[in-house]
Symmetry: C2
Subunit: 348 residues, 2 copies
Amino acid sequence: MAELKNDLLLRALKKETVERPPVWMMRQAGRYLPDYIKLRNKYDFFTRVQTPELACAITLQPIDQVGVDAAIIFSDILVIPQAMGLEVLMEEGKGPSLPKTIQTRSDIENLRTDNAEESLAYVYDALSLTKQELNGRVPLIGFAGAPWTILCYMIEGKGSKTWDKAKQFAYTEPALAHQLLQKITDITINYLKLQVKAGADTVQVFDSWAGSLSPLDFSIYAQPYLLQIADALHEHAPVILFPKGSWYALKTLSESKAAGIGIDWCVSPAMARELTGNNITLQGNFDPSKLLAPIPQIKKWVKEMVNEFGSQKYIANLGHGITPNVPVDHAKAFVDAVKETAFSTQSA
Amino acid sequence: MAELKNDLLLRALKKETVERPPVWMMRQAGRYLPDYIKLRNKYDFFTRVQTPELACAITLQPIDQVGVDAAIIFSDILVIPQAMGLEVLMEEGKGPSLPKTIQTRSDIENLRTDNAEESLAYVYDALSLTKQELNGRVPLIGFAGAPWTILCYMIEGKGSKTWDKAKQFAYTEPALAHQLLQKITDITINYLKLQVKAGADTVQVFDSWAGSLSPLDFSIYAQPYLLQIADALHEHAPVILFPKGSWYALKTLSESKAAGIGIDWCVSPAMARELTGNNITLQGNFDPSKLLAPIPQIKKWVKEMVNEFGSQKYIANLGHGITPNVPVDHAKAFVDAVKETAFSTQSA
């Protein structure tokens, strides 16, 4: 394997001194990129995910075109329900749906668990190919959905504003919920280890719907499984946990085996530093809606964000995925602003 | 007017000593009540809202059937866009939609503002009739949507998980956003004053989508208008502000002219007390998804919640509206548990 020419992301995760903060964007591969849209018009979603050459090509697009400091493999968190035997449909522009949802003990018992992660060979192949094609330009990020978030989709069968059905399942059938969460966790750990083996330099766990839970319920239904994953993976690769909306868990997670915590824009950088005792690398938290503003305004906001987080133990990112309507030069302005800010910080 | 026999809610809002905390539930009038569903099957949504006899009957149902300590007038926050000249459609089970949205300066200038609140006479009539029918049993709550939340619907034209369009409008056209927010605020203030004049004992302002904003953006686009409303109303009636999701604003709002702050379940009672310096009456924050659990479990959770908030300067409520699938006896268990807890707290 080629030696990394740009290892800013990995050094930031190791709390090493960096000359400027690394920057990447959640959902950077896809949606807003014209070259992605061309592939989308030719191949359906899961063909793009399951064909290593396509996933690799999509993963590389933002490296070349936007100048981010890391590649994140093009895939989807719902490959885990697929590996466990559930059908997942993806209708363009409408989000995912699962025709058969989990409702009973026997539904859970019927899920495939033994070696389920082995059915995801196309992900490992895509990682290996991408690693080779990157040729050391930037680190490669693997990822998975967090167990709570995967449970949400398995129970509801589609996206939701409130995840009431998933929560009602957990609150009325806590033993079954924990059984399901543990099954998802076990497979996710194996899956992430295989991603690292295939070439991922770091892995991010997306708990996109953690914020639907109260602090107490997060500590019951989400946190234990995030911690299990961090414990199991941290000797293989640095782990970034992204519990969207769960500002109340920042302190506990900052004391875990995770190397980084992703935060959304609903906590200020200063408050996030305070809640984590400045003890861990933070990643975030630009509101993607702001990428529609004029470029000089974007750059001003980005510089304010970086200054508030500080240039060390920091990975510049959005607070959620980039939206499809962002012009490429606005995305690039976000990335450029981070790079420029670091220099102005250094000279200050 | 008949003297109030149960004034627990008003005493809690005045920080006076109460023998037990008052309890009511957001969306308590409607949805989950069989008698409401009968009326829903006969009259469409805005007929129910605009016919004082129907709105009154619906408002009274949970007083008689669930035993709450306050009535909240059956209405909708989107009557304000209607009063300003926008069409609002309500499709049963699908939520509201506005066929014509606000996109430009001229859209804003074309909104009706002069005496727009006068077109909402049916709300005042419903309040007067309900006040009379209540005959002093419990206080009557009026309400309105917060300006930011009303702007969200006016720009997006329907519900959204992320309110990206509304935020993009605010971030790219801040002057227009403030112009629109101020127009909504002015009408809302007049509207709430007329609600008080018609019989509302207190008013709640629902900022349901405040949590889509960062702390800084909340302070720019939401908070100033909430404070204007609290300033203008507090000498007329106690004001409850409910900035859902905006835990970061609790301190500032606790120092405002509001008498109470509603909180959702994503902040713990102890943290909410800490953030507000225990200086203001708090309302909330039971996760409505928990009302599907078995009754003994509901009662246990409610008692834990009340004990954590404490029995004084506290109004027991949900952290968001009750969902349609809650059995009536579960809603009643929530109310009963609050009443029972207070006694056990007193004897402790």
